[in-house]
């Protein structure tokens, strides 16, 4: 036990990997924010819409009109500060808070990789990633350390391992492995991809991609851990993520993952990378700092407790779906925050009906009066969106002077190439339903069966 603790947790190792991770993570985040801004997505996703879908319990997190740009500015600026390691602790807090705030503003834009970034930046709050090769280390020799306990690096490896393995486990289902769905839908539509155009249209391609993807996700962390397979594994990481980037609109995620997996390499590689930066930026080698070793202060004990809790949650949260009845891919109860990445092809159609409970008079809602096309698309197949929107409609029409407002929906959803069927019970008055973590019994059960995890 002592040797385990020594070997995997408290042995001191070089801080260089942590420094490289910090620099590349900060730069990637900065580029992501600039990219997001330059595409006009802040305006389009957070300023223009008149209604935003909130996460349960976070209804108070809303965009701030034009000040939303300020949040993005803080986020981008703090990412740069993280990259150079200037006032790292404050910068990291600012980044974590601003980035997470942005993600909570509207769950329409939920992406696993945004969650990944929030989670990584939360972990980084506890890591002295500015100990080495940073402005902080240079300005305050007391904060400079050449060695850190190995758990600091291993915790990042563990987090990446969780992401990959859970993404792999999620693929162990009959739709993905036996039917080759949803890749059978997605791949042929990528016929105009350079070089791969013909490949993606073959009948075996979806199966090959499905199985290789599953194998990749399940085993890549272990292949990266093992020194002899590490280089091959990293090549696989690059190929896999570049391929998914070419085929699917997943933005920066691929690059972030490629960069992150560098953490698996030993300190020598990271010194080379730092050497490269030194040369490129004509820095003096003095950034190397002194030979000090990081020691926890007494107050750090709390951090251990928080981190153990954090990882326990990371392991448990993806399994929360077991608490809900019915098919997960259909109800999506317990679907998010679980590394279910590019896993289902789903779309829906939702026509809302406002009924006067007294007179029975009714009319339909034109969704485009309230939602952007993107919001409407996401809303139409997710029960919590449908409910929240129904509540909003009730409020809206009551304000307009309608009385006894009841809200019903005619809602069809198609999953992984199956014919669309009714998703929400059309006879249920959604205005009277409450949001909670409990199962939504007004979801019509899935008509088919998907076997697997």
């Amino acid at each position: 036990m002592t040797s385990f603790k020594e070997k995997y947790l408290f042995q001191n190792v070089e801080a260089a990997p942590l420094a490289v991770f910090r620099i590349l993570f900060g730069l990637m985040m900065f580029v992501s924010i600039v990219r997001f801004w330059s595409y006009g997505w802040i305006e389009k996703l957070y300023v223009q819409p008149q209604f935003f879908f909130s996460y349960y319990g976070f209804e108070w997190v809303k965009p701030l009109g034009d000040y939303t740009y300020l949040i993005f500015f803080v986020c981008g600026f703090s990412a740069l500060m993280v990259a150079i390691g200037y006032k790292y602790r404050i910068a990291m807090v600012l980044f974590f808070v601003s980035f997470t705030y942005i993600e909570l503003m509207d769950k329409t834009t939920y992406l696993n990789h945004y969650y990944f970034i929030s989670v990584v930046s939360f972990l980084m709050l506890f890591l002295p990633a500015n100990a080495y090769f940073s402005v902080d280390a240079r300005q305050h020799p007391k904060k400079a350390f050449k060695y850190v306990p190995v758990w600091m690096i291993n915790s990042l490896k563990l987090l990446l391992g969780i992401v990959y393995v859970y993404a792999g486990l999620a693929k162990l289902n009959s739709d993905w492995l036996v039917k080759g769905m949803p890749l059978k839908i997605w791949l042929p539509s990528k016929f105009d991809t350079p070089l791969l155009g013909n490949l993606v249209q073959t009948e075996w391609a979806p199966y090959a991609f499905s199985w290789l993807g599953t194998g990749y996700d399940l085993f890549i962390p272990f292949l990266l851990l093992y020194r002899r397979t590490r280089i091959v594994a990293f090549v696989a990481v690059v190929v896999f993520h570049v391929l998914t980037r070419v085929l699917f609109p997943i933005g920066m995620f691929s690059y972030i993952m490629i960069v992150s997996t560098l953490i698996f390499f030993d300190a020598r590689v990271h010194h080379k990378i730092l050497g490269f930066f030194t040369k490129m930026l004509r820095l003096s080698k003095t950034l190397d700092g002194v030979g000090a070793t990081w020691r926890p202060k007494n107050s750090f004990k709390m951090a251990y407790v928080v981190l153990i809790g954090f990882f326990a949650l990371q392991v448990l949260v993806p399994f929360r779906y077991l608490c809900y009845p019915g098919e997960l891919f259909w109800t999506e109860e317990g679907y998010r925050f679980s590394w279910r990445v590019m896993l289902v092809e789903k779309s829906g159609y939702a026509q809302f009906k406002i009924v006067n409970g007294d007179s029975g008079k009714w009319f339909y809602v034109d969704n485009s009066d309230f939602l952007t096309p993107f919001q409407e698309k996401q809303m139409a197949f997710q029960a919590d969106f449908i409910l929240e929107y129904a509540h909003y409609l009730k409020q809206h029409f009551e304000k307009q002077g309608h009385a006894q407002v009841e809200v019903y929906v005619d809602n069809q959803v198609a999953l992984n190439g199956r014919l669309s069927t009714t998703f929400v019970d059309p006879a249920v008055n959604l205005a009277a339903q409450k949001e909670s973590f409990a199962h939504k019994n007004w979801i019509i059960p899935f008509k088919d069966e998907i076997k697997g995890l």
Partner: protein, 380 residues
């Protein structure tokens, strides 16, 4: 070793940043169309050629010649405003209005930039505006005049000035004669002009642009057109022609919102022509012939044969047929709405029309992996 590694990695990262989002960013796509034979696949370029050459352009041509006839009958009516000439003029109006139902859905490219649909068929017509325009100067190119021109304005000028043909004809022979004729002429000239512009742009360049944009991005022709097609079905056919007059969005019926209100008896004929046009387009039926070519239907079948599911093509056609049948059994919409306190049968027919939407918007689009509207955000 690791130095090259780092270099290679940085190259990948940089390359990645600069080539972001070719698929969703807009008009960045300019690679030449790939003509390699494709194994299992469906040729989107063949589909586009069929749409352009056998359906869209011929439909525009037919519409343009209908308008010529309309103009001819108007000239006859202008030189002799008799009841007979009015009847002939009205028949040409109806016939070109039907031809319009076969082009209204093609609101892409030239039609989109001309605002074709809004300029030709914005209803209900604002009769007071028509009268005001007639007696003053008016610029029909102004967006504010859209509800005082096109087919609905002609509807008012031909059918709405009085109750009987004799009474209408006498209006054209009385004090207002010159203003009425001049404005009618102006409206028809405007329609002919717009149609000529749209058709000539298709014939001079846009056809090739349309056909060669055969990729699979949000801005590719198929993706864009499928969006426009569904948008037309949902907003203009279902809601515009039936739903809004029926009051499904307002709670009470609005009979004055039916298409061709002043004529009063042809709104369902116009609807059915529009629905047939939609179904024929879906099945790739060549204009004015029973031949069919590559279409959304054959595309779905090609995908389905790979997928081995139920035939979505059949389901969609069955639903279109049902919708047609139930609308065909109705009296003219205006009558249905004015003579029933609760227009139950028209409501039921509307539901049948409505039922095709999930099939198109959810099942078809998802099978083709086409994104609804230009949602250019990241996925994961």
């Amino acid at each position: 070793m690791s130095r090259y590694f780092v270099l290679a990695f940085l190259l990948v990262a940089l390359g990645g940043c600069s080539s972001d989002d070719g698929t969703t960013g807009g008009s960045q796509r300019d690679e030449t169309p790939n003509d390699d034979p494709k194994p299992v696949s469906f040729e989107r370029s063949t589909l586009l050629v069929n749409w352009a050459d056998n359906i869209i352009v011929p439909s525009y041509e037919a519409f343009a010649s209908e308008l010529e006839v309309l103009q001819g009958t108007f000239e006859a009516f202008r030189s002799d405003a008799s009841t007979d000439n009015l009847v002939a003029f009205r028949a040409a109006w109806l016939s070109s209005y039907l031809a319009w139902q076969r082009v209204s859905m093609f609101e892409i490219g030239p039609a989109e930039s001309a605002g074709f649909r809004l300029n030709i068929n914005t209803y209900p017509v604002d009769a007071e505006k028509v009268t005001a325009n007639m007696n003053g100067t008016s610029d029909l190119a102004l967006p504010s005049n859209r509800d005082a021109k096109g087919f609905p304005a002609l509807d008012y000028l031909i059918n709405g000035l009085a109750d009987t043909d004799e009474a209408i004809v006498s209006k054209y022979n009385e004090a207002d004669r010159e203003q009425l004729l001049a404005y009618t002429d102006k409206v028809i000239t405007d329609m002919v002009g717009l149609t000529g512009t749209v058709l000539s742009e298709w014939n001079n360049g846009y056809r090739n642009t349309f056909v060669s944009n055969d990729g699979a991005s949000a801005t590719a022709s198929v993706d864009r057109f499928v969006n426009d097609f569904i948008f037309y079905y949902e907003k203009f056919l279902r809601a515009g022609k039936m739903g809004i007059p029926l009051g499904v969005f307002s709670g009470s019926t609005l009979p004055d919102r039916v298409e061709a209100f002043h004529e009063g008896t042809i709104s369902n004929t116009l609807f059915l022509e529009g629905l047939s046009a939609v179904q024929d387009f879906f099945n790739g039926k060549h204009f004015g012939s029973n031949e069919t070519g590559e279409s959304l239907a054959t595309y779905l079948e090609a995908l389905n044969s790979v997928k081995g599911g139920e035939s979505l093509t059949d389901l969609i056609n069955i639903q279109f047929d049902k919708a047609k049948e139930s609308v065909a059994s109705l009296r003219p919409f205006k009558e249905e709405l004015m003579e029933n306190t609760v227009p139950t049968e028209m409501g039921n027919a509307y539901d049948e029309v409505q039922r095709a939407i999930p099939l198109l918007k959810v099942d078809m689009v998802s099978a083709m992996s086409i994104s609804i509207d230009f949602v250019d955000a990241d996925g994961d």
